[in-house]
C-alpha cells in the first residue's frame, strides 16, 4: 500500500534517514522499531508530507506522494497520529469527532453544512468503541493523558482512513490500559479493515500486534521480518533490544 524506495533525509549535518526502503501491506499491521534517534518519526513525517525528502520515492497505492502537501495526502486516506498527542483541546469530545470526518469530498457548500444525525451517531458509536462515551461533552483538554490518546485514535477512525500511521501510541500509558489500546487497534484492523503502521519501543506491544516489523538503526534499515524473526535477530538485539 505504501512503498518507500531509497528515501533519504538529512537535517543539517544529521542524516536522519539513509536510503530507507520499506513496504506496508494492505490490511496488515506493520511495525517500525529502532533506537532513539534512529529516524522512525522522520519516516512518518516524510510519508505524510511534513518535510521534503532529499531523495527516493514514496508511493501510496502506486501514486507518488513525496511532493504533495500535507492536506492532500491526508485526503487520500492516509492519516497519522502524533508522538505528542494532538487533539483540539478547547472543543468537547463530540466536536472533536465531528470535525474529523472524511474531508475527501467536502465541497465549498458542505463547509456550512449542519451536523447530521448520521454523523453524530457515528461519532458517538466510535466514542463508545474507545470507551469515552461518558466523557463525550467534556472538553478534550480536560481528559487525562491516556484518554487523550484514545480520543486521538477515535478521531482518526472517524475519518475512515485507509491507512493509519501511529507514532508510539502507548508511550506513557499505564500498562493495563495499553492492553485495552492494543485490543482496539486489533479490532480497528479487523473490523474496519484499516491498515496500520505503528512505531513502538514497547516490545510487549509490537510483538503481540504486528504482522511484519522493520527495524531502523542510525537512519538505515537494519532488519525486517516477522516478529519472531526480529526478536531473535542478532543485529536487532545488539543495536536495540539489548542482551536478554
Amino acid at each position: 500500500m505504501i512503498v518507500l524506495k531509497d528515501v533519504s533525509k538529512a537535517f543539517g549535518g544529521v542524516q536522519a534517514n539513509k536510503k530507507v526502503s520499506l513496504e506496508v501491506e494492505e490490511g496488515k499491521i506493520t511495525g517500525l522499531i529502532g533506537p532513539n534517534g534512529s529516524g522512525k518519526t522522520t519516516v512518518f513525517n516524510s510519508i505524510v508530507g511534513y518535510h521534503p525528502i532529499d531523495e527516493g520515492s514514496i508511493q501510496f497505492r502506486g501514486q507518488e506522494i513525496s511532493e504533495m502537501p500535507v492536506q492532500s495526502i491526508a485526503r487520500l486516506g492516509l492519516l497519522r497520529t502524533f508522538q505528542q498527542t494532538r487533539i483540539y483541546s478547547k472543543m468537547n469530545c463530540v466536536e472533536n469527532m465531528l470535525i474529523s470526518t472524511d474531508n475527501r469530498n467536502v465541497s465549498l457548500w458542505d463547509m456550512f453544512g449542519s451536523r447530521t444525525s448520521e454523523i453524530q451517531d457515528k461519532a458517538e458509536h466510535l466514542l463508545e468503541f474507545v470507551g469515552l462515551y461518558r466523557k463525550r461533552t467534556l472538553k478534550a483538554g480536560d481528559l487525562s493523558f491516556g484518554q487523550q490518546k484514545l480520543l486521538e485514535f477515535a478521531m482518526a477512525l472517524m475519518n475512515d482512513p485507509d491507512i493509519l500511521l501511529l507514532d508510539e501510541p502507548t508511550a506513557g500509558i499505564n500498562p493495563t490500559l495499553i492492553n485495552g489500546l492494543i485490543d482496539r487497534l486489533h479490532r480497528a484492523n479487523t473490523e474496519f479493515g484499516i491498515t496500520l503502521f505503528v512505531i513502538e519501543h514497547n516490545m510487549r506491544v509490537i510483538m503481540n500486534m504486528a504482522d511484519q516489523i522493520y527495524c531502523l538503526s542510525n537512519g538505515q534499515m537494519l532488519a525486517s521480518g516477522k516478529p519472531e524473526d526480529i526478536q531473535n535477530d542478532k543485529r536487532v538485539i545488539d543495536a536495540y533490544l539489548g542482551g536478554h
Binding site: 511534513y50 521534503p52 500535507v70
Partner: protein, 303 residues
C-alpha cells in the same frame, strides 16, 4: 518618481547621504529592536509599549536638559539607569501577570501599558513636541564635489548602538546572569529546576530592555523630536525589524535595522515622504512572504 531616481544619478553625493543616514537612523531602530528581540526571545513577550519606552527615555533626556541644564549626552547613562528601574516597576505591576498567558494577552496588556505611558507623559510633560540639543560639533567631509555634514550626535548613536550590542553579547555569553537569561529563554521550567529564579530573570530582562529603549529615546530626543504619542512608529519599526530578522539573531537585527534605515531614505526620495510607513510595512510583508515561500518548499510554516 522619475525625478527622484534621476537625482540619485545627477547628484551622487545624495546616495552617500541616504546610506549614511540609513546607518545613523538604523542604529536607533536597532537599539529598540535589540530590546524587543530580548524580551520576545526570553519572555516570549511581544511588547507593544516598546516605542513608548523610547519616547519616555527621550522625555527624561529633554527634561534633564531643559529643567536642570544637563548635557544630554552625559545624562544618557542616568536616563538608562532611571529607565531600568521604571522597567522593573512595570514588570512587577503588569508584565509579570501576563507572561505565561497567550500571545494576545501580552500584546493587549502591553498596549494598555503603552496608553498609560503616553498619557503619563502627556500629563506630566505636556503634549508639546520637545527636543534636546547636544552642543556637539559637526563632522564635515566632501565627496563627489558635494558637501556632507554629519552632526556628531549621529555618530554617537552608531557608537552607542555598537557598544550596546557588544555589551549585550558579552553579558549574555560570559556573565552568570546572562547564562541564566539564556537558560530561561530556552526552557523556563528546566531553569526553575536548576534553581534559577525565573521571575527575577524576567524582571531583569524587561528592565534591561527598558534601559536600552531609554538610550534609544535619548538619541531620538537629540536627533529628532519626541511627542507623547509618537511611540507607535518606533514600536512598529522594532517589530518589523525583529520579525524580518528572526528571533535570536542579533546580527540579523542590526542588518535589518540598517537596511530599514537605508530603505526608508530611498523610498522617501523615490516615492515621496508620505509613503514612509507603507514602505516599512511593505518591506515586512515582502520578507515574510519570501520566508514563507522558502518554508513552503520545505513543507513547513512560519510560526
Amino acid at each position: 518618481m522619475w525625478q527622484g531616481i534621476e537625482m540619485l544619478f545627477q547628484h551622487p553625493s545624495v546616495n552617500v547621504k541616504y546610506i549614511l543616514d540609513g546607518l545613523f537612523f538604523g542604529s536607533i531602530f536597532a537599539l529598540a529592536a535589540y530590546g524587543l528581540a530580548l524580551v520576545w526571545g526570553v519572555m516570549n513577550l511581544k511588547n507593544l509599549a516598546q516605542g513608548d519606552l523610547v519616547i519616555l527615555g527621550g522625555y527624561f533626556t529633554w527634561y534633564f536638559q531643559s529643567a536642570l541644564g544637563w548635557n544630554p549626552i552625559l545624562t544618557l547613562p542616568i536616563v538608562m539607569f532611571i529607565m531600568f528601574f521604571f522597567g522593573w516597576a512595570m514588570y512587577a505591576l503588569v508584565v509579570k501577570w501576563v507572561i505565561d498567558k497567550d500571545l494576545f494577552t501580552s500584546l493587549l496588556a502591553t498596549f494598555g501599558l503603552a496608553l498609560v505611558i503616553q498619557q503619563f507623559i502627556n500629563l506630566v510633560f505636556g503634549p508639546e513636541t520637545q527636543t534636546a540639543v547636544s552642543e556637539l560639533g559637526k563632522i564635515k567631509f566632501y565627496l563627489f564635489g558635494g558637501r556632507i555634514v554629519v552632526p556628531e550626535i549621529r555618530v554617537v548613536g552608531v557608537l552607542l548602538c555598537a557598544a550596546v550590542a557588544v555589551a549585550l553579547i558579552v553579558f549574555m555569553k560570559r556573565s552568570r546572569t546572562g547564562q541564566a537569561i539564556r537558560a530561561t529563554a530556552q526552557d523556563a521550567r528546566a531553569a526553575k529546576v536548576m534553581g534559577i529564579n525565573t521571575d527575577r530573570v524576567y524582571a531583569l530582562t524587561f528592565s534591561i530592555n527598558s534601559a536600552i529603549c531609554g538610550a534609544a529615546g535619548a538619541l531620538v530626543a537629540m536627533m529628532f523630536l519626541v511627542q507623547p504619542f509618537y511611540g507607535i512608529t518606533y514600536s512598529i519599526r522594532s517589530f518589523v525589524i525583529v520579525t524580518a530578522a528572526g528571533l535570536g539573531n542579533l546580527p540579523g537585527v542590526i542588518t535589518a535595522a540598517f537596511g530599514l534605515g537605508v530603505l526608508e531614505g530611498y523610498a522617501n526620495n523615490i516615492l515621496g515622504a508620505s509613503y514612509q510607513q507603507f514602505i516599512v510595512v511593505f518591506a515586512l510583508v515582502v520578507v515574510l512572504v519570501w520566508r514563507m515561500i522558502r518554508l513552503r518548499k520545505a513543507r513547513m510554516v512560519l510560526e
